[in-house]
Amino acid sequence: MKLFFHFSVIGFSNTYLIGNNDGGAAILVDPGHMDLELLKLIEDNNYYIKYVLLTHRHASHTKGLKTLSKIYDVEIFANSPHIHDFPVRIVSDDSHMNLAGFDISAFLIPGHSSDSMVYKISDALFTGDVLMAGRIGSTSTSLSRSLLLRSIREKILPFDENTIIFPGHGTPTTLGIEKIINTDLMPHRHGSKHVLTGNNPEFS
């Protein structure tokens, strides 16, 4: 398995290219923006994009689909049926599929959005905006935050600590790191709210 990371300055989101060692059909997770750099990454490694996995429908994870679908004949997998009017193969909770030779498990983890999916390929989790380094996804209500936390606890945390996390925004991490450091997963720890001032010797 080869994995490549692409950062989109538009939306500050991560796109992941997953393919076999010898090129061929490949998977793109969350094409937030399709640019020449990403196209070069795909072509220089002898891939063509056959499958797109969407972690959720928000624009910073899907906007590249329009350009991508003009270049490649892609099959789009998502939990939401409505992705910019593209035909979508619906992925349901706790489902399994094999794409480009990779066994993929899919988990519905609602809270950040109702259609938030996490995909597991081998020991890597593609978590979108569900779980990121040091934080969980943003939510609009305390109810959706509770729902998100409960789903993470039930479906993500049981994986072992060496499981690698490739989030939709920010840096890669591992489940072992998040179990220790992620304060959003610790109900009794609260962050500091101090405001920076110009008088602080750290900054002057």
Binding site: M1, K2, L3, F5, F7, F12, S122, D123, A124, A133, G134, R135, D160, E161, N162, I164, G170, T171, P172, T173, T174, G176, I177, I180, I181, T183, H190, G191, S192, K193, H194, V195, L196, P201, E202, F203, S204
Partner: protein, 196 residues
């Protein structure tokens, strides 16, 4: 990516050393594995998709190395020169770095979280989109570096210098800082607190 092959030792969740069936700790001859790893690193070609966790490395000149999609988690690195190296998608979490030089390195999408850094220097580096959350760092210098989108949340920093750095989207949420300097850096563009 390094192969996601787990150690064959019953009950062990570690990833196996590349081309071996067990992890470093359960290897029959860990010494030779470590020497093999050091020799591989010293070749200074592109080291890709290599995994050896819990290794102990010291006194190596690994300057101008290229590491891609490797895993060296839980390692100990003492007196290692990583200057001018290129590190991408590599995992060094929960490691110990003592007196290591990372002068003018490029680190992208790499993970050093939960590690300890003592007397290390990252001057003049591009450390982009890398995970330093939960690190403990003392007497360590990041001066003149680009730390775009790098995560130092929940870190413990003592006598650490971030002078003249690009801190755009760098995350220092819940970091504990003692004798830390951000002089001449754009700390206003870093994240020090969150609106929950």
């Amino acid at each position: 990516m390094f192969d996601f092959i787990r150690c064959s030792h019953p009950g062990c969740n570690e990833f196996a050393v590349t081309k071996y069936t067990t992890c470093f700790q359960h290897a029959e001859n860990p010494e030779s594995l470590q020497q093999e790893a050091a020799a591989k690193l010293l070749e200074k070609g592109i080291v890709g998709s290599y995994c050896l966790t819990h290794g102990e490395f010291s006194n190596l000149d690994l300057s101008k190395s290229s590491l891609y999609a490797c895993k060296f988690s839980h390692g100990t690195f003492q007196d290692i020169d990583f200057s001018d190296s290129y590190i991408q998608l590599c995992f060094f979490e929960f490691s110990t770095f003592i007196n290591c030089t990372f002068h003018e390195v490029t680190s992208k999408y790499s993970v050093f979280a939960g590690s300890e850094f003592r007397e290390c220097s990252f001057t003049g580096s591009d450390i982009l989109h890398s995970n330093f959350s939960g690190i403990t760092a003392s007497h360590t210098v990041f001066d003149d570096s680009d730390l775009y989108y790098t995560n130092f949340s929940s870190s413990k920093l003592s006598h650490v210098s971030f002078k003249d750095c690009n801190l755009k989207k760098a995350d220092f949420y819940l970091s504990e800082r003692q004798e830390v300097s951000f002089k001449y850096s754009n700390f206003e563009e870093a994240l020090f607190f969150r609106e929950n």
